[in-house]
């Protein structure tokens, strides 16, 4: 089976609000990236490295699949 298209989505915005309305700036400081990078990740303009993805999941104390989901369509 060959994979045709992969879509990655995330729930960072919802998780931030659930985490006492954590700001993008605070999350960026915890993760070690700029606020603009968090903003780009949230709006799916940038897909982070595994390291940053795990760091984000760790901030929310969630497994990575609760933060990022991958959907694919097969040929």
């Amino acid at each position: 089976m060959s994979i045709d298209k992969i879509t990655i989505e995330n729930h960072i915005r919802a998780l931030r609000f659930a985490a006492d309305e954590l700001t993008q700036q605070k999350l960026a400081e915890h993760v070690g990236v700029s606020r603009q990078t968090i903003n780009a990740i949230e709006s799916a303009k940038y897909f982070p490295s595994l390291e940053v993805a795990f760091r984000i999941a760790r901030v929310f104390d969630k497994p990575i699949e609760d933060v990022f989901q991958c959907h694919w369509k097969s040929k």
Binding site: G32, V33, S34, R35, Q36, T37, N39, A40, S43, A44, K45, Y46, P48, S49, V52
Partner: protein, 139 residues
């Protein structure tokens, strides 16, 4: 304003390079058309343009740093830098091949040198434009 220090820096470098080297190429073009063929004359104009550009870059970066706290570049900045360089380096390569061709066919050094300089400048400018596009549209 949703612009990182890195992106502001790209804008500053783009404006500085377009104005600084734009002025140089306008003057150099007029010199070439009026028959100036001595390389030192062009080098002097180029040096003035580069010094002016460097002063502009320093002042503009200081102002940008005062207006917003500079952050360290992160993995997204590095990816954008890499991808923009990867997609703009061909302009410099084409310019170098053209300059070598000019030398083979005995074109005057003034034209060859300025062609080389122009290709390097256009490659850099394309790189800055691509970086801004990647920052705005995503990478």
């Amino acid at each position: 304003m949703n612009v990182s220090f890195e992106e502001k820096s790209v804008w500053i470098q783009l404006v500085g390079m377009v104005i600084g080297l734009g002025i140089y190429f306008v003057i150099a073009g007029q010199m070439a058309l009026s028959g100036v063929r001595e390389m030192p004359a062009y080098a002097a104009v180029f040096m003035v343009a580069v010094v002016g550009m460097v002063i502009f870059l320093i002042i503009a970066h200081i102002l940008a740093a005062i207006m917003g706290k500079p952050e360290q570049s992160d993995e997204r900045d590095k990816l954008i830098n890499w991808r923009s360089e990867h997609n703009s380096a061909w302009v410099a390569a084409v310019g170098m091949l053209a300059a070598i061709t000019c030398m083979v066919f005995g074109v005057e050094n003034v034209w060859t040198a300025n062609l080389l300089l122009l290709s390097l400048a256009l490659s850099e400018i394309l790189g800055f434009v691509l970086r801004i596009v990647y920052y705005r549209r995503g990478v």
